[in-house]
C-alpha cells in the first residue's frame, strides 16, 4: 500500500488525548505480545505513586504541528498540544536517585517481567553506576523508564511529542540535509561503549531541548504506534514510509522503524529516555512548592 494514497485517517489515532493515553498503552503492550491486562495491573501495583520533583530544567514546548513519516491526513499535519519536556536525557546520577528511593527497580530487584537480563548491565552494582554520572542512563526497559517518569512527577513523552520537539530545528533545508547525513552516519557508526555526557552534542531545538539526536535513542510512551501496525516491518518499509525522497525523511524512517522494533522489556546500550510533563501536572507541582 502506498501510504501517500491514504486519504483519511481517524484523527484520534494520530493524536492521543490524555484520556485515551491509557488505551494507547494497553494497545502497545498488546502489540508487543504481552498479556495486556496482567501486565498493566502488575505495573500499576508495582509502580510507586508518590510524585517527586526532579532536578534538571523542564522546558515548555508550545502547541503546534509537524509532519510525521507515519501516514497522515493529506494536508493535515500532526497537531501536538503544549507540554513540558526535560532539557536533557535522564542521567545515571538521576536514575541512581530513583533506584535509591525504589530499590524494586534495581538490577537485582526488577522482576524478569519488566526487563531482560541486560538491564543496567554496565553498572558496577545495584546502586553503583560507576564513574559516568553525567552520561545518559541506558539499558533501561520501557517499564523502568515509565516508572521513573511517574516517580519524577511526569510521564514518557508520546511519540508525536518527542518527534515534534526533535524536529523543531531552526535550520535551512540545506543544513537539514547535511545534518541528516551526519545522523545516518551516526546510526551506522555509533559506539555504545563511548557514552558522552548529556548536553554535549551541541544539537538543540528552538526551545532549548538538547541532544534529541546524536547521543542516544529514547523511549517514548507509544513506541509501537497504532498506525505503525499498518506498516509491516520489511524490506520496502523505508520506501513506503518516506515523506518525500530526502535524506531527512530517510533518517526519520530509520528512527521510527528502530523504535517500533523494540518491545517493552528491551534494553540496549543506545536506548535511554527523558520525561515529559502535562501542563496542569507541572502547575500542580509548582503549587506544592513552598
Amino acid at each position: 500500500m502506498n501510504l501517500r494514497m491514504l486519504k483519511k485517517v481517524p484523527q484520534e489515532l494520530l493524536k492521543p488525548d490524555p484520556g485515551s493515553r491509557e488505551m494507547i498503552n494497553l494497545i502497545n503492550i498488546l502489540l508487543s505480545k504481552w498479556n495486556p491486562a496482567g501486565a498493566l495491573v502488575l505495573l500499576a501495583v508495582f509502580s510507586t505513586a508518590n510524585l517527586q520533583a526532579q532536578g534538571g530544567d523542564k522546558l515548555l514546548i508550545p502547541a503546534g504541528s509537524f509532519h510525521s513519516v507515519l501516514p497522515e491526513v493529506v494536508g493535515e499535519p500532526v497537531r501536538v498540544d503544549s507540554f513540558y519536556l526535560d532539557e536533557v536525557a535522564v542521567t545515571n546520577e538521576d536514575f541512581l536517585e530513583f533506584l535509591q528511593a525504589n530499590p524494586r527497580w534495581t538490577r537485582s530487584g526488577i522482576p524478569a517481567l519488566y526487563a531482560g537480563s541486560d538491564y543496567l548491565r554496565h553498572w558496577k552494582e545495584d546502586l553503583d553506576p560507576s564513574a559516568k554520572n553525567s552520561t545518559p542512563v541506558t539499558r533501561v526497559s520501557w517499564f523502568a523508564a515509565n516508572s521513573y517518569c511517574k516517580w519524577a512527577g511526569g510521564r514518557l513523552p508520546t511519540l508525536n511529542e518527542w518527534e515534534y520537539s526533535a524536529q523543531a530545528l531552526d535550520i535551512s533545508d540545506a543544513e537539514l540535509d547535511r545534518f541528516s547525513f551526519e545522523l545516518m552516519g551516526w546510526y551506522s557508526a555509533v559506539d555504545a561503549n563511548q557514552a558522552a555526557p548529556v548536553g554535549s552534542t551541541g544539537i538543540e531545538n528552538r526551545y532549548g531541548v538538547k541532544d534529541q539526536f546524536g547521543l542516544i535513542m529514547e523511549w517514548v510512551e507509544d513506541f509501537k504506534p497504532v498506525l505503525g501496525s499498518e506498516i509491516s516491518l520489511d524490506c520496502g518499509t523505508v520506501g513506503r514510509m518516506q515523506n518525500g525522497s530526502g535524506i531527512y525523511s530517510y533518517a526519520a524512517s530509520v528512527r521510527y522503524i528502530t523504535r517500533m522494533s523494540f518491545n517493552a522489556k528491551s534494553t540496549t546500550g543506545m536506548l535511554g529516555f527523558r520525561c515529559a510533563y502535562d501542563i496542569d501536572q507541572t502547575k500542580r507541582l509548582e503549587e506544592q512548592l513552598p
Binding site: A189, D191, A192, V238, S253, T268, M270
Partner: protein, 374 residues
C-alpha cells in the same frame, strides 16, 4: 434452540475463529517438497556460547563436503553481532554481521534437508568470534587460524532479522525482526538445490545489507551434478559492495548517499578488496574447478568472468536443470548466483573478475594460482 444455546454456539464459533486465526498450518508435501513449518519462537536466553554452531558452517572460500547419505536435520546457530573489520588496506568500519565476518559463514546442506535455525541478536554485547571456544563449527577454527579481517568486537545495538533465500516460509513469521537481546528460532526445509543468499531483512534493508549482513547457503542437489566425480577443486566466491566514507575518527562509516545512488566505494570478492590476491584460490593445470558464485549485492550486478578460461558448465542459480555450456561471462543481478566450472588450461595465474570494469577497479577481482599438471 434456546437463547442460552445460541449464545454458547456463538461463543464457540468466536473461539474457534480466534484459535484458527492463531494456528499455524501443519506440514504438507507437494512434488516431494515439504512446506508448512511450525511458528517461529522469539524468546530471551542467557547465551554466551559460540556465535556460530553447525558442522557445515565454513569460512569463504571453502565448502565442507557433505559426509552423509540421504537427508539430515541440521541444528545450527548464527548470531547477529557487531565487529570492527578491515575490508581494504587501511579501511576499517564497524560491520553489522552474521557470525562476525562479511560475508557471514557459508552453510552447506543437501536438497531436502531440514534446518532448525537459531539466532540471537547480540548487537549490544562485545562478542569475540572465537570465544568461548572454536568447537562450535569449522568456521570458528578457520577464523582463529586466518582472521584476515582482523575482527574485533564492537557494540551497536540495532534490530535485526534473518532471511534465507533457500527457505520457503511466511516471512512475517520466520524472517521477523528481533530486538537486541532477543533470540529467534525457526525451521525451514531446503526444497530447492542452489546457491542462495541469506541477509538481514530489517528496514532499512539497504543499510543492513550494505553494513555487512549477508552470506550464502549452498544447497547441493540430492542427485548431484553430472560432473561431480570429475571436480578437483570446489570453492565459494561471493561478490558484494561496500558504501563507506571516512568518519570523524580513524574508522569508515556508511555513506547513505552513495548507497542510494549505487555508487559503491568498494566492490569486493569474499568481503575484502585484496583477500583473493593475498590468499589466491589454488588448482593445477588440467584440473576441473567448480565455483559457487553469488552476487550478494546489495544493489549492483556482476558479470563474472575468469580471464584465460571458459566456463565449461554453468548451472544458473546452482540448479542442475539450468545448465549452460561454453559461457565466457555470467551476468547476475543482485542476489543471483551460479555454479560455474572450468578446466584450468595451463600452469599460471588466472584472474577472477567482474567484467563490469568499474566494479573490477573498485576491487572485484581475485586470483586463481595454478600449479603444474599432476
Amino acid at each position: 434452540m434456546t437463547l442460552l444455546n445460541k449464545t454458547t454456539a456463538f461463543l464457540i464459533v468466536m473461539a474457534a475463529t480466534f484459535f484458527t486465526a492463531q494456528a499455524q498450518s501443519s506440514e504438507y508435501t507437494i512434488d516431494g517438497m515439504t512446506f508448512g513449518m511450525p511458528e517461529a519462537e522469539v524468546y530471551t536466553e542467557d547465551y554466551d556460547g559460540p556465535p556460530v554452531v553447525g558442522e557445515y558452517f565454513t569460512m569463504l572460500p571453502t565448502l565442507k563436503p557433505l559426509e552423509y547419505e540421504g537427508n539430515k536435520h541440521h541444528e545450527v546457530r548464527l548470531d547477529a553481532m557487531v565487529q570492527e573489520i578491515e575490508v581494504a588496506d587501511g579501511v576499517r568500519y564497524r560491520a553489522w554481521t552474521f557470525g562476525g565476518t562479511v560475508p557471514g559463514p557459508t552453510l552447506h546442506v543437501k536438497e531436502g534437508d531440514r534446518i532448525t535455525f537459531t539466532m540471537k541478536n547480540r548487537s549490544d554485547e562485545p562478542v569475540v568470534i572465537t570465544e568461548p571456544g572454536t568447537e562450535g563449527s569449522p568456521f570458528l577454527e578457520q577464523v582463529r587460524d586466518n582472521n584476515f579481517m582482523d575482527a574485533h568486537p564492537a557494540i551497536m545495538p540495532m534490530p535485526h532479522s534473518m532471511d534465507f533465500h533457500a527457505g520457503t516460509v511466511a516471512k512475517d513469521d520466520k524472517w521477523r525482526t528481533i530486538s537486541p537481546g532477543e533470540t529467534i528460532k525457526f525451521d525451514w526445509v531446503a526444497n530447492y538445490p542452489g546457491t542462495y543468499i541469506y541477509h538481514c531483512g530489517t528496514p532499512s534493508v539497504l543499510m543492513h545489507t550494505a553494513m555487512g549482513q549477508h552470506g550464502v547457503v549452498v544447497v547441493s542437489p540430492k542427485d548431484g551434478f553430472e560432473t561431480d566425480d570429475q571436480v578437483d577443486r570446489e570453492y565459494v566466491v561471493v561478490q558484494s559492495e561496500y558504501y563507506l566514507e571516512k568518519g570523524a575518527g580513524e574508522l569508515y562509516q556508511y555513506d547513505f548517499e552513495a548507497a542510494q545512488n549505487v555508487n559503491p566505494s568498494h566492490v569486493v570478492f569474499n568481503g575484502h578488496q585484496t583477500i583473493l590476491h593475498d590468499q589466491p584460490l589454488e588448482a593445477n593445470e588440467g584440473e576441473r574447478v567448480r565455483i559457487h558464485f553469488s552476487n550478494n549485492g546489495p544493489s549492483g550486478t556482476s558479470s563474472f568472468h575468469v580471464i584465460g578460461a571458459i566456463f565449461d558448465r554453468v548451472w544458473m542459480e546452482g540448479h542442475p536443470f539450468n545448465e549452460m555450456r561454453g559461457m565466457q561471462t555470467v551476468l547476475l543481478g543482485a542476489s543471483g548466483s551460479a555454479v560455474v566450472e572450468f578446466i584450468v588450461p595451463e600452469e599460471g595465474s588466472y584472474i577472477l573478475i567482474d567484467h563490469e570494469f568499474a566494479d573490477a577497479e573498485k576491487g572485484a577481482t581475485g586470483t586463481l594460482k595454478a600449479g603444474p599438471r599432476q
